[in-house]
């Protein structure tokens, strides 16, 4: 699955990342009565009308498409929380805590369940703002990219995906450069080791 588009390194397309994100659980309110569904990934249900239940996003969207449920927007997608996160993102250098797949989940919900999200325009613009701020942060981080100095905590899947190719290659380059230095070092140590080895028997020999 991986590496279909990225020839250089293992790079996911956004669609693939989205596909992965569809396994995240969301809460839905079904409007039908249905026995439990048994999947490889687990059992979900039974479903009762008007009683909330957690299902994977793909199932939620499938049911939604058939008009069998409404999706409850996740907690973090409230306007209050998002404004707070946006402020935090703007103020501090670090990344705020958001779900790993927030870009994909919000995108999917905006596309296919917009009527279930209260104040969808506001929420959407907030999420997009947050995404822009964070992407910008990722890019600026990349400018002063050194293997040790950058904190990558709380990065989301899509953000990781953006820099995956670059950082992978960069790290390889670092590794190569280090190796160039390390190889002589290794040589030296290798040189030393035999010397040491040679020394020992000598020492051992001396007392004899």
């Amino acid at each position: 699955m991986a590496g279909q588009s990225g020839s250089q390194l293992s790079l996911f397309t956004p669609d693939e990342v989205e596909f992965v994100a569809e396994d995240e659980l969301v809460e839905i309110v079904p409007n039908l009565r249905m026995d439990s569904l048994n999947f490889i990934c687990g059992d979900y249900g039974p479903f009762y009308p008007q009683i909330a239940i957690q299902v994977p996003l793909w199932l939620a969207l499938a049911l939604k498409k058939r008009g069998k449920c409404t999706i409850r927007p996740p907690q973090w997608m409230s306007i209050e929380n998002l404004t707070q996160v946006l402020e935090g993102e703007r103020e501090s250098h670090a990344f705020q805590t958001l779900p790993f797949h927030y870009v994909e989940i919000s995108r999917l919900l905006f596309d296919r369940a917009r009527d279930d999200i209260p104040d969808v325009y506001m929420v959407r613009s907030l999420v997009e703002d947050i995404r822009d701020v964070r992407f910008h942060k990722v890019e600026t981080n990349l400018e002063n990219f050194t293997a040790s100095a950058v904190t990558w905590k709380n990065m989301a899947a899509m953000e990781v995906n953006i820099i995956r190719a670059f950082s992978g290659r960069a790290l390889q380059a670092f590794y190569r450069h280090e190796n160039e230095q390390a190889v002589p070092d290794l040589d030296r140590t290798q040189d030393r080791q035999p010397q040491n080895l040679n020394d020992r028997p000598r020492r051992n020999l001396r007392p004899r």
Binding site: V29, R33, P49, Q50, A52, K68
Partner: protein, 958 residues
């Protein structure tokens, strides 16, 4: 000083959208003249709440007409007109207590900060950040005068009780005395009150003493300064333990006491004459407004976060009540102005007049208003009427002539008398309601009916409303087209087959109507309606093939699905509510008027419509001081009720028919959630969780159901295993119900009870698991007697063996011995019981389960405690017998027993059980059971020897 805590209820949530960003907002609170209602508002909330002071748990009526926070409230002296001022620059008038919006009486260019009615209610003073205080005629809304003189925003206004002056204070601390007649400034006191600057949540206020002799103003030294009425000279100060400046003060109705609240979050009560503080209370937040109850010894407070509370018995009983000797300023005021004198006349006819403007506090047609008011009085009982005459605010000058003598009497009378009259007002019989209805909210859709099946919602427009019926399960329920309703239906009920609607009568033209709409019918036009002349439908209910309506004449009318008037019964009392399920109809009525403790006295009865019987009736229990808010059937068909204190009760036939409290909101409540009950099943309560101030759900967004576990209100036991104990009682309840159903269905028409048997068996197994865990926790906390009692309640031999193993592992050999002997006794009874049951089954052929149990009990040795045997053994036998019967091989005693036992074991799903139990018997057999041995003789001996002794039932078959 005593430390008390006062519980505050949230009335207004500070929302970040409005003004106050720091979470503190200026909130106001008011009593109406008869102390029946409390009005609250907050500068961070656009809604004004009218709380029912008698039923504090009911939903407040919320008036949302302002577009921004409400900063000022004022109630006309006769409590018929409410004025509110807001940050949205407008002053609005409402009728009170109904809350109907009347008019936008004036507008400013900047937010309003203060409002005040004069003594007759004819004039309203409004002021705020604008310069100039507007004096407005309440009748026509004309501006009588604009008083200009303040430099800062005016935050406090007070009409002098004698009607001569108006005092005002601004945010810079300047107090002005105005003469009303001329509109001139009499005195200017610059900078006497603290400068509050720009913080709008903090306002300067001032207040005239009820006799009008003094004006109280917060001083600069965290004190209260009294100024003389005429000379505006400082008279004295109240200085004490306030550490920070004052933010509110309020005179008691008689002017003997004063309550002050400071920025230091304390409220102090002062004896004004002694200039001493007599009581104090600390609060979590700053109290920004207070109001003394006009009748009684209570202070209502509201803090900056919008929480309000009642501080009961503020003044110690050793001192004079704050409502004693209310000054009658009308008698005192010799320098009364002309229009005041005139004001007395119309007052007696229920409205007030002033200076050519005829009626007061009402911009609607005065004649209509008067009629309304009079009819209100007619409805009141005499006690209330006298109270109305007496329990006036001090400002109210003119008593009603008709009640003059009564007032005099009360005036002289003791305080107790007053209290007793106040009490009689307090208790109010609950009005009829439909389960699952939400109150009317202007401009919003509301639920007429919400049950486990679906919803009926309505939305009112001018002259008609729009009704929609939706099923939760959209895939199964029929799709019902929306309907336009010209009747104004307020009651509705819904089931799978149809819906029923009813409206109350409104005048002569609009009679009360009952309408039934089936969802599907083979015939066209199968909906029908009934009209009631001189009668009003109070409650409707719906069942399978019947419709019921209870009317104001206390008739229970039962119709068939097609509209045939089938029965009319007379009920004992006025209806409260009703609910239907299948062929059962449950009705709740008032049994009598309320108790003095304001407890409702309700009665319920269940009718079986199909058979024309009344299976049960009795009193409906409620928590003290609460009222019924939901009533219905559980999914299993058990009658249930939910009261305003959050206790769910279910009616069972245990103890000859009693209500069990199965859920208590207080025990599970998370912070400030309210539960709006929709239904329940055997284990769960279905409800809609409403956040904090809301008591009922809104139609949009669509509410979702939350499942809550049922739990008995258990005492906190020394065991610390509340969950297990709860499970234990619940399981017992389920077992009881299953057993009852088995009995019913077998006695009914000999229906197949296999499913019920299986259910009983699995419940028993669950109960045994629960008991074993309880035994373990009993042993751990050294409650050995309790453990023994629990062992006796175990059903399965396997569990008893398990219990013995458990106590052995816990190193309690004494207990293990005891358990062993209990098990032996059990085995003995079962052997006897089994042989006899089998015998009965064979001899009768019909094999009624009850015979088996009946014959079993006396057969046991007398020394054995019967509780264990009756609980466990009979059901087991019953099962055996039923199975045997099914098989139809009841030709021989032995054969039956043998046929039956493997099935029993397999239905339990555990062959392990069989072997374990068998092992137990084997042991017992070998060691210490003389009875067993003695019983194993007779003709069946050969059969036992043929088989290895691997099974308890084998043995019992001997």
């Amino acid at each position: 000083m005593k430390i008390r805590t006062l519980k505050l209820r949230e009335a207004h949530k500070p929302s970040p959208g409005y003004g106050a960003a720091n979470g503190s907002s200026f909130c106001s609170i008011l009593w109406d003249q008869q102390a029946r209602h409390l009005v609250t508002a907050s500068s961070s909330d656009s809604g004004i709440s009218i709380h029912d002071a008698l039923l504090p748990s009911t939903t407040p009526k919320i008036l949302r007409h302002h577009r921004d926070g409400v900063t000022a409230l004022a109630l006309s002296p006769n409590s018929t007109c409410l004025a509110s001022g807001s940050i949205d620059n407008s002053v609005k008038l409402y009728r009170f207590p109904g809350g109907e919006f009347e008019t936008n009486i004036t507008r400013f260019t900047l937010p309003i900060r203060a409002l005040a009615f004069n003594q007759s209610g004819s004039m309203l003073a409004a002021a705020g950040d604008d310069d100039g205080i507007k004096l407005i005629n309440t009748v026509d809304g004309s501006i009588a005068r604009v008083l200009k003189g303040h430099k800062g925003s005016v935050t406090g206004l007070a009409f002098d009780p004698m009607g001569e002056y108006l005092a005002s204070v601004d945010s810079m601390g300047t107090v002005l005395f105005w003469e009303l007649q001329s509109g001139t400034i009499l005195h200017t006191l610059k900078g006497v009150a603290p400068n509050t600057g720009l913080d709008t949540s903090l306002v300067n206020i001032l207040s005239w003493s009820p006799d009008g002799e003094m004006l109280a103003v917060p001083g600069l030294k965290n004190d209260v300064v009294m100024y003389d009425r005429d000379t505006a000279e400082k008279v004295f100060t109240l200085r004490g333990d306030h550490l920070l400046p004052l933010c509110f003060l309020s005179w008691s109705p008689n002017g003997k006491y004063m309550a002050t609240s400071g920025l230091d979050r304390q409220v102090l009560i002062w004896d004004v004459l002694k200039k001493q503080d007599i009581d104090r209370q600390k609060f979590e937040d700053r109290i920004c407004c207070m109001a003394w109850k006009p009748v009684g010894n209570t202070l209502a407070v509201v803090d900056v976060s919008g929480k309000y509370g009642l501080w009961e018995s503020v003044i110690p009983s050793s001192m004079k009540s704050p409502t004693d000797d209310i000054p009658q300023s009308s008698k005192k005021s010799n320098g009364l102005m002309l229009f005041e004198e005139e004001g007395q006349e119309p007052c007696s006819s229920g409205s007030l007049g002033d200076l050519g403007e005829d009626s007061v506090g009402e911009s609607g047609p005065p004649s209509r208003k008067r009629i309304r008011k009079r009819s209100e009085f007619d409805e009141d009982d005499p006690a209330e009427n006298t109270l109305d005459g007496f329990g006036l605010l001090p400002q109210r000058m003119a008593p009603k002539r008709t009640h003059y003598s009564a007032r005099e009497h009360l005036d002289k009378g003791s305080n107790e008398e007053l209290r007793s009259t106040a009490m009689s007002v307090r208790s109010k019989m609950q009005e009829a309601f439909q389960p699952g209805v939400t109150p009317v909210q202007p401009g919003k859709r509301r639920f007429l009916c919400y049950n486990m099946l679906g919803t009926i919602t309505t939305m009112e427009y001018d002259g008609y409303s729009h009704i929609e019926i939706d099923f939760h399960d959209t895939s199964r329920g029929p799709r019902v087209p929306a309907m336009t309703d010209h009747f104004g239906f307020t009651m509705a009920c819904l089931n799978e087959n149809g819906s029923v609607f009813a409206n109350p009568c409104k005048g002569d033209k609009n009679m009360s109507t009952l309408m039934y709409r089936p969802f599907s019918s083979w015939a066209n036009n199968s909906e029908w309606s009934m009209r009631f002349e001189g009668e009003e439908v109070k409650v409707v209910a719906l069942g399978v093939h019947w419709v019921a309506a209870i009317t104001s004449l206390n008739y229970l009318r039962i119709f068939t699905e097609g509209g045939l008037q089938k029965h009319i019964l007379s009920l004992d009392g006025p209806a409260v509510t009703a609910s239907g399920s299948k062929n059962q109809l449950a009705v709740v009525t008032h049994a009598s008027s309320c108790l003095p403790s304001s407890d409702q006295v309700l009665e319920f009865q269940v009718f079986d419509i199909r058979n024309g019987t009344r299976p049960s009736r009795g009193r409906l229990p409620l928590s003290p001081g609460s009222h019924l808010i939901w009533f219905g059937f559980s999914e299993e068909g058990l009658l249930s009720s939910y009261d305003s204190k959050g206790v769910l009760r279910v009616f069972t036939s245990q103890y000859g028919g009693s209500w069990l409290p199965l859920f208590s909101a207080n025990k599970t409540k998370k912070s400030d959630e309210n539960y709006w009950v929709v239904g329940l099943n055997a284990n769960k309560l279905f409800c809609i969780v409403c956040k904090s101030t809301e008591v009922f759900p809104q139609v949009m967004p669509k509410p979702i159901l939350t499942l809550l576990d049922l739990s008995f209100p258990l005492a906190s036991s020394d065991l610390g295993a509340d969950v297990l104990e709860n499970e234990f009682i619940l399981n017992n309840l389920h077992l009881f119900q299953i057993q009852k159903r088995i009995e019913e269905s077998s006695s009914d028409d000999g229906r197949d009870t296999t499913e019920l048997d299986d259910e009983a068996f699995s419940t028993e197994a669950a109960q045994d698991r629960c008991i074993l865990r309880l035994i373990a926790s009993c042993c751990n906390s050294d409650k050995l007697v309790r453990a023994t009692e629990l062992v006796k309640l175990l059903t399965l031999e396997k569990s008893m063996k398990g219990a013995i193993k458990l106590v052995t592992a816990l190193k309690l050999p004494n207990l293990a011995d005891r358990f062993n002997s209990i098990l032996e006794e059990r085995m003995l009874i079962e052997t006897k019981g089994m042989s006899e049951t089998a015998g009965v089954a064979v001899s009768q052929g019909s094999g009624l389960a009850r015979n088996g149990t009946a014959s079993e009990v006396p057969s046991g040795p007398s020394c054995i405690p019967s509780s264990s045997t009756t609980l466990s053994a009979p059901r087991f036998f019953k099962k055996v017998v039923n199975r045997g019967e099914q098989k139809g091989r009841n030709d021989h005693n032995l054969q039956t027993a043998r046929e039956v036992q493997p099935e029993v074991a397999s239905s339990g799903g555990s062959t392990e059980l069989r072997t374990a139990a068998a092992a137990g018997t084997q042991e017992l057999n070998g060691t210490s059971n003389p009875f067993l041995k003695s019983s194993s003789n007779g003709p069946t001996k050969e059969t036992t020897s043929q088989r290895p002794p691997s099974n308890p039932f084998k043995k019992s078959a001997k």
